[in-house]
């Protein structure tokens, strides 16, 4: 079983549409949406939920004011600027609290306890292209990296149980904690980029991240005809760094039109040039994972 993650650095380059398209040409794959902050893959794959699971998120400290003496020990120890005196009362900001529990341990009055959020969910589901695992991070929740790991582990477990050949992972934008959790230990990392100055800047950072994990990424250059000069700049950068561009995709309204129809770009028109490109990307992925 091989794991393939699609990431981008910059958001909005076409990761999710391409992931969905790959899912529709892959045979015997499990799909995992690891962009848990803003999960969109389900809008195209329309999976049927089999199991809904609670995810226990980050902990937050709360004060029992019947015990608090306003001594300020917790406030002095907190390194996250989460404890302040507001209207002469020690107050913990639920948004700034990192959940380290130091205040709880240090409180001489045992006035602080931790509450754990359970508003995030993750789902095991069935789509028309096979099993899919995805999640919904609760509103204003943290710890998305850990939720990514839960989604990936479950997708792997299903893939092993069903003898699947691939796990296809839709990753989040950026280079932070959830991205690291999405690419750790995968067989192939694909970066979808676009020919803009921002796209190139973000590409360089995400390539560096992949290199830190000894991952050699493959590149898809999307919307390349929106700025052909920039596309050539990206091509030169990739050559210089010995990174293969596996596909050049022109700007195409099919991306949005297919999304509106809740279809993958391959389903929207099986015989389009775009569908051929997707098939060739999948052929290359198969070649590289043999």
């Amino acid at each position: 079983m091989k794991q393939i993650t699609i990431i981008s650095g910059k958001g909005g380059t076409g990761k999710t549409c391409i992931t969905a398209a790959l899912a529709s040409v892959a045979e015997n794959a499990v799909v995992a949406d690891c962009d848990v902050d803003a999960a969109d893959l389900f809008l195209i794959l329309k999976p049927h939920i089999l199991f809904e699971n609670k995810y226990l998120g980050g902990k937050t400290a709360v004060i029992d004011y019947s015990k608090c003496t306003n001594c300020g020990i917790c406030k002095n120890l907190c390194r996250f600027d989460a404890i302040n005196t507001i209207d002469d009362r020690i107050t913990i900001s639920e948004f700034s609290c990192d959940g380290c529990e130091l205040c709880k341990r240090a409180c001489p009055e045992y006035a602080i306890s931790m509450i754990q959020s359970d508003s995030s969910r993750w789902f095991i589901s069935d789509s028309r292209f096979g099993p899919m695992v995805y999640a919904r991070l609760g509103i204003a929740e943290d710890n998305s990296g850990k939720l990514v790991t839960v989604v990936r582990e479950e997708a792997k477990r299903i893939a092993k149980a069903k003898n699947s050949d691939f796990v296809i992972i839709d990753g989040p934008p950026g280079i932070g904690c959830p991205v690291i959790a999405s690419i750790t230990g995968v067989d192939i990392t694909i970066i979808v980029t676009e020919p803009t100055q921002s796209g190139l800047h973000d590409l360089k950072r995400v390539v560096e991240l992949a290199n830190n994990f000894s991952i050699k990424p493959l590149i898809i250059l999307n919307k390349f005809d929106l700025n052909k000069e920039m596309s050539e700049v990206i091509e030169r950068y990739c050559k210089k760094n010995n990174i293969e561009i596996i596909a050049w995709i022109p700007f195409n309204r099919i991306f949005v039109d297919a999304m509106v129809n809740q279809q993958t770009i391959v389903e929207y028109n099986k015989f389009s040039e775009l569908s051929n490109v997707i098939q060739s990307i999948w052929n290359k992925i198969q070649k590289y994972t043999v």
Binding site: S8, K10, G11, G12, T13, V36, D37, A38, D40, L43, K59, L77, R79, F80, D81, S93, F95, S96, D98, G99, C100, E101, L102, R105, A106, I139, A140, E141, D142, N143, S144, G145, P172, P173, G174, I175, G176, C177, P178, V179, I180, E194, T196, Q197, S198, G199, H201, D202, R205, E208, N212, L226, N227, M230, F251, R253, V256, M259, V260, Q262
Partner: protein, 288 residues
Amino acid sequence: MITTGCRIAIASGKGGTGKTMVAVNLMYSIKDIIDGKIQLIDCDVEEPNINIFTKGRFNSEKEVAIKIPEINTDKCIYCGKCAEYCSYNAIIFVKSIPHIAVMDDLCHGCGACSYACETKDAITEKNHVLGTVSKYNISDKIEIIEGRIKVGNALAVPVIKAVKKEANENALVIYDSPPGTSCPVIETINDVDYVVLVTEPTPFGVNDLKLMVETVKKLGKKMGVVVNRIGLGTDDLYDYLNAENIEVLMKIPFDKKIAGIYSEGKILVDEFPWLKQEFLDLFKKIHI
């Protein structure tokens, strides 16, 4: 109309909807009608892009670091209390060998281990660099401040906190938020006066906007929406905004010419005067 002493965040949920484009072009559109100082603060510390467009003159840079523990194994009595106090599993402790080690990348720098340790000098603290905060100037009046995490560092929030500390109370401050809806976004918008949400009228754009609207509501902030790339997608977005009674501040058409100018890292309102007027109108609609 708002003037100086206000903080506005530009956020989106979905990535690539045009947050940075709106932040940069809003600043360029209003700079002549604002008397005081303007600060444009890049809180998208994983992928900061503001200064690609603004090309400000470098002023200064400083490192953002947290304090992480260093265990002196000569002094350590291997009681394991530090590992017990660590909520991040960043201290590996095996009593039987005995063995103790700190996983630097997992540590959040909370200081619980130092607090727990009762053996003198067994735990000392050292700086662990997470990223940088850099300042650039466009003019005496306009400052660009950029937070940037070091590649490989998973902790974005301390760098966002550090870059936000540079906000001047008397300036008009514009924050460019990271994408998503989780901790980096909350950290960016939790103390602003107004949130401008940038979206596109596609199914993905609508879905992620809904998540972001719920987040902004939970934080109790005022908000309005900029719809980018109209002409692509559907009308579902407008139905939702109507139902939620959320104001559309501005609409930007999908146009390959706009996409081309943007791709070169140029300022759109320099090329399209009509767009500058639209941004001025947007600014007038922001009520704090």
